[in-house]
Amino acid sequence: MPLVYAGICSHAPGITGRAERADPALRDPFCQHLRDMGDEIRAERPDALLVVAAEHFANFFMDNMPAYCMGMADYYDGPIEDPQWLGIEPQRVPGAASLAKRLIGRMMARIDLAYAQEWKFDHGIMVPLHFLTPAYDLPVIPANINCQGPPLTPPARAYEFGRALREACDAVEERIALVGTGGISHWPATPDSGKINESWDREFLSRWAANDRAALTAYSDEETWRDGGQGGFEIRTLIAVAGAAEGATGEIRYYAPIPIFAVGCTVGRMRI
């Protein structure tokens, strides 16, 4: 079946872990947009939710760091973080191992990627799931793009990863929903936590909504680091979704900097 849904959202741990400290006038509409996104995904009756994430050393370390990895496990446990710290109770999330294996096999005809039959979720996936599938009942296929330990895959390759993902999703029987989750500019886990470059974010999101491949893949790491911080490297996950939706444009449903969440909080959808 053709891919049934493609969207993006933020995943910062503060969204659930420090919720009570955020301005309700910003927090409440943002969280509502995340829940609405979950409703829109369910309306497409997906068999699986494929999450392109930028994990943060929950599974992958510099002893063997894949640029791209997809999960093909029967289930996933998370969060690795302290449940109280993150504000999310431990969950076992169903996987879609057979579907994942077929997707990975197809994608390997076009790109190189690693796979994993064991995978723990951190806030990078648990925070989106908390809002999108609060019952944790929709099978998930995780994908990870290394956005933490350089050298990093360039944005053009992330777009290409998305294209390969789309080709594979369209080729299988199952109905697949795709969500990419990453921050735009942010400086998390530094003394600058809460700093957000709103104009850089808005420029990125306009390129994303236009699905302007050349503009999306033009970011150098030097430029991203200077203007978007080390958290800005996570734009790769959002660029991958644009690649999966090549030929379509999108809309930004919500964007607002929420400093205590340490990120410009974003919800967007491609019109595939």
């Binding site: 050393f57 710290w85 998390p188 530094t190 003394p191 600058d192 700093k195």
Partner: protein, 104 residues
């Protein structure tokens, strides 16, 4: 300088229940499993979150160690700021500070 192994120790501690049990039961033994300098061991032991930050431990790894050692959010951010004052600029890695004036 064995920043790689400081981070590897914390990576395992953050995700692996066996490493966590070892942390609880035999912290010195856990430290000895990795190729660490005395400065690194002391910073992990204290814990000196500010020094670990200045050494260049990736923030996504250090954030969870701070939480494990009982630093709530504001104290964690303050510990990094204090570390900069005491030990100077971040020595390695991506998690440098820019102006040090975030949300909290």
């Amino acid at each position: 300088m064995s920043l790689y192994y400081v981070q590897k120790l914390l990576y395992q501690l953050n995700r692996d229940p066996h490493a966590r049990a070892r942390f609880d039961e035999n912290f010195e033994g856990l430290l000895d499993d990795f190729d660490l300098t005395e400065e690194e061991k002391a910073a992990l032991r204290a814990p000196d979150i500010g020094l670990l930050y200045v050494m260049g431990v990736n923030g996504q790894i250090l954030m969870h160690y701070a939480a494990l050692r009982g630093f709530e959010w504001d104290r964690y951010i303050q510990a990094m700021r204090d570390g900069l004052k005491l030990h100077g600029p971040v020595r390695a890695g991506l998690y440098l500070t820019t102006d040090g004036r975030g949300a909290v």
